[in-house]
């Protein structure tokens, strides 16, 4: 069998996974996309194992490991998603931006800019720390 087929398939799978991780908003679907990427890797491993006729079947073994780890990872991920849902009533990833830079309304932003230009660095820093 030509090596190209499994490679193309795994590349497609990986790309779909990347697209999913980057573009899907739903956290569960993101996790599923991560699984797709992992499986693309698994496919590669198995394919090369068969292709090179590895006598120890390292590729297949590694695949088993990956599957186990992926299972654990999905369990952890789903637990996080569940907790997030309980707290926020949503699993939309683009809404979960609390760790990001605080969004300020325009008036406050202007005030902050004034404080920035003033000669009191401490006050300006305190202004910047606020939500």
């Amino acid at each position: 069998m030509h090596a190209l087929y499994p490679l193309v398939v795994s590349a497609l799978l990986f790309s779909v996974g990347v697209y999913g991780v980057l573009a899907r908003r739903n956290a569960i679907l993101m996790l599923m996309s991560v699984e797709l990427m992992l499986n693309a890797v698994n496919l590669n491993l198995v394919a090369f194992d068969a292709l090179w006729r590895d006598r120890l079947h390292g590729g297949q073994l590694l695949t088993l490991f990956t599957i186990v780890i992926a299972a654990a990872e999905v369990g952890l991920g789903l637990a996080i998603v569940l907790l997030v849902f309980r707290n926020r009533k949503t699993v939309e990833v683009d809404r979960l931006t609390e760790l990001g830079e605080a969004r300020r309304d325009p008036a406050e932003a202007r005030r902050g800019a004034d404080a920035e230009t003033s000669a009191e660095p401490v006050a300006a820093a305190r202004e910047g720390d606020g939500p």
Binding site: V18, V21, L22, A23, V93, D94, L96, T97, E98, L99, G100, E101, E116, T117, A119, P121, A124, G128
Partner: protein, 676 residues
């Protein structure tokens, strides 16, 4: 021998620290032991003999009439009774007395068996020219060292009474001890850099003691002025030492003097001229003399010790010590002579118009130091050193007596005294001896020393034109005839002016009617008897000079000088006699202000130096604030702005971060693929 000398220096040095650290504890211990014995006889004896009184005993120049409080006059009388329980005073006086005794032994030994004794403790390797930690005692050092010790002892005893109520007497006594040690180090040092150490320690002690009453802003300003002006000279002094030391390959004084004949003339002239800068600063010669009159802001005993008898004499002493080097550089001696002439006449004229007794004495000090400098310039080294010693005695006497008058009258101003002859007889007679010595009237000490300087100048002026006449009694340095004549004439003229201002101060203090409102009485016993004791050397010291041929009076010079002195004194007396209530200096008319302001030299310096320096300082401040600080502060602003730009992308959306990450990986991968 050298062990004795080093002990002489070490004693006051240790006493300074002991007095500073243990003085109060000692007085507490002593008074605790003495109290049960005294019983109820002294119920007012406090645990510390130095009651904390607001120190307004500060005699500051230009001070308005301070009504002498009864407590202030009663206080010093207590000083004698309290002396056995006054820890700082005991430490200071005992150590100084011991040092005096040792100095006396050293001086006697050197006198009986002349010669230089030298001892070196260790050599400090510096890589090039080693520094020797060594002392030496020859006739000059022993004599001046003894003089320093005696004056310091007198001042220490006197200060016990004078500063009896000062809360900082403890540190005062310690600084006087430290100063004594430093001066002795200068006197006995066998190494130029060791000498310089003592020289600088004296400077800092002088600074502290001038600013003793620092509560008054003017006093601390005077201290800073003295410090800065002497420092200005000291820069030259240090470089001069380096020039001499490196030229000679050693810093030891003996080694330098041995190497003088081999040194190139240029090096020698430059080095001695640089040394002269330090001498002018320390000995208050033109143009660095303006600090001395202001230094009178310090307590009067300090003026007596530092600014009249010892520290200012250090400059003259250094020239005398390194005299062979100066002798080989006639240009330096000529400069010294011209500086002396200007200082001598100018400060004597300034003394004529001062209203403050201590400032009169300060200007007379400058004038008398200029006498010594002139003596050195014309080659009369022995006479100059002789005058240094006699001047140390009579100027200390004059200042201490002036301190008594100031304490009693509660004012520095001549215009407030008058008629003290009857009420202060001991002070009067002592001061009369002092003034007579200052003018140079026979038979007191000043006459002999001053006359030998004048004779030296006459000799130099007479032989200046004739080269190579080797049969003259005393050798004459190779200075131009004009300079020698100028020195000679200035010396004579100054005798006249000196007589005039001494007469004026004497008459205004002790004769006529009392002008201030104070209770005239003799000063406390400790002070009066110290003054009286100092009057003895001031009177008889001159006769010791009769042993040396070059110090005997000469008819022509003595006669001329006495003529000038009589003229000056008579003029002052006649002016005063017309109206004893008035200041004779008023007759000077418009010149009086000029003399009183010392030819506006302070104003000139203020315009030429102080104001430009201040303006430059302000410019530096502005440049610092607007330039450097603005840059540093600006960095913070720029960082904040740059940070603000980075902040925009921190949206909190994990997916956009990932996208960025992936894009970065792709870019790197693409870069790697393309470039490799």
């Amino acid at each position: 021998m050298i062990a004795l000398v080093s002990l002489t220096i070490a004693l006051p040095f240790c006493a300074a620290f002991a007095g500073m650290l243990l003085g109060r504890r000692l007085s507490r211990t002593l008074s605790a032991r003495a109290l049960p014995a005294a019983g109820s006889a002294a119920p007012d004896a406090p645990t510390t003999p130095l009651p904390a009184v607001v120190p307004d005993a500060a005699p500051a120049p230009g001070d308005e009439a301070r009504v002498p409080e009864l407590s202030r006059l009663a206080g010093p009388d207590l000083a004698l009774r309290r002396l056995p329980r006054n820890g700082p005073a005991l430490i200071a006086i005992a150590s100084t007395a011991l040092a005096t005794l040792l100095a006396l032994i050293v001086a006697t030994t050197v006198w009986l068996d002349p010669g230089t004794r030298e001892g070196t403790l260790t050599l400090v390797p510096t890589g090039t020219v080693d520094i020797a930690i060594g002392l030496q005692a020859d006739g000059l050092a022993a004599l001046v060292g003894l003089m320093v010790c005696l004056v310091a002892l007198a001042v220490q005893i006197y200060s016990v009474a004078y500063l009896a109520e000062d809360p900082r007497y403890c540190s005062y006594a310690a600084f006087v001890s430290l100063f004594t040690a430093a001066m002795l180090l200068v006197v006995y040092a066998a190494d130029l850099l060791l000498l310089y150490v003592g020289w600088e320690v004296m400077g800092i002690c002088s600074y502290f003691l001038i600013g003793h009453h620092w509560e008054d802003r003017a006093n601390s300003r005077a201290a800073v002025k003295a410090f800065l002006m002497t420092r200005l000279g000291d820069v030259g002094f240090l470089i001069g030492i380096f020039a001499l030391g490196i030229g000679a390959g050693t810093f030891s004084i003996g080694g330098v003097l041995d190497a003088v004949p081999d040194l190139p003339a240029g090096t020698l002239t430059a080095a001695t001229l640089l040394l002269l800068a330090g001498v002018a600063g320390k000995s208050a010669q033109f143009p660095l003399h303006t600090w001395l009159p202001d230094a009178m802001a310090g307590p009067t005993p300090i003026s007596a010790l530092i600014h009249a008898a010892t520290m200012v004499a250090a400059g003259i002493y250094v020239i005398a010590r390194l005299y062979p080097a100066f002798w080989a550089a006639p240009a330096s001696l000529t400069v010294l002579g011209i500086v002396a002439v200007i200082s001598m006449v100018g400060s004597a004229l300034a003394a004529l118009a001062q209203t403050d007794l201590k400032r009169v004495l300060a200007y007379s000090t400058i004038s008398q130091l200029a006498y010594m400098a002139a003596g050195l310039a014309v080659g009369a080294q022995t006479a100059a050193v002789f005058h240094l010693v006699t001047h140390g005695a009579f100027k200390a006497l004059l200042f201490l007596a002036a301190g008594s008058v100031i304490l009693v009258a509660g004012s520095n101003l001549l215009g407030r005294y008058g008629g003290l002859r009857r009420t202060m007889p001991i002070t009067f007679w002592a001061m009369t001896v002092g003034y007579a010595a200052l003018i140079g009237l026979p038979p007191v000490s000043g006459f002999f020393s001053k006359d030998s300087i004048i004779e030296g100048a006459r000799h130099a002026a007479a032989t200046a034109g004739r080269e190579g006449t080797g049969d003259t009694a005393a050798a004459v340095p190779d200075i131009p005839g004009g300079a020698a004549w100028a020195i000679y004439i200035a010396l004579l003229v100054t005798v006249g002016i000196t007589a005039a201002y001494a007469m004026r101060a004497w008459l205004m203090t002790f004769f006529g009617e009392q002008r201030g409102s104070f209770q005239a009485r003799e000063a406390p016993a400790l002070m009066t008897w110290t003054v009286a004791a100092l009057a003895v050397p001031s009177a008889v010291l001159g006769f010791f000079g009769l042993g040396a041929a070059e110090l005997r009076p000469h008819l022509v010079s003595a006669g001329l000088a006495l003529l000038w002195a009589a003229g000056g004194g008579a003029a002052a007396y006649l002016l005063w006699n017309r109206d004893p209530a008035r200041d004779p200096a008023d007759r000077l008319g418009p010149l009086r202000t000029v003399f009183d302001r010392a030819f506006y030299l302070d104003e000139l310096y203020a315009a030429l130096v102080v104001r430009p320096v201040r303006a430059a300082a302000r410019a530096v401040v502005v440049a610092d604030r607007r330039g450097l600080d603005a840059l540093v502060v600006g960095t913070a602003g720029w960082s904040r702005r740059a940070g603000g730009a980075l902040r925009r992308i921190q949206t909190g959306n994990a997916q956009s971060y990932l996208t960025g990450l992936l894009a970065g990986v792709v870019v790197i991968a693409a870069g790697v693929v393309i470039l490799l």
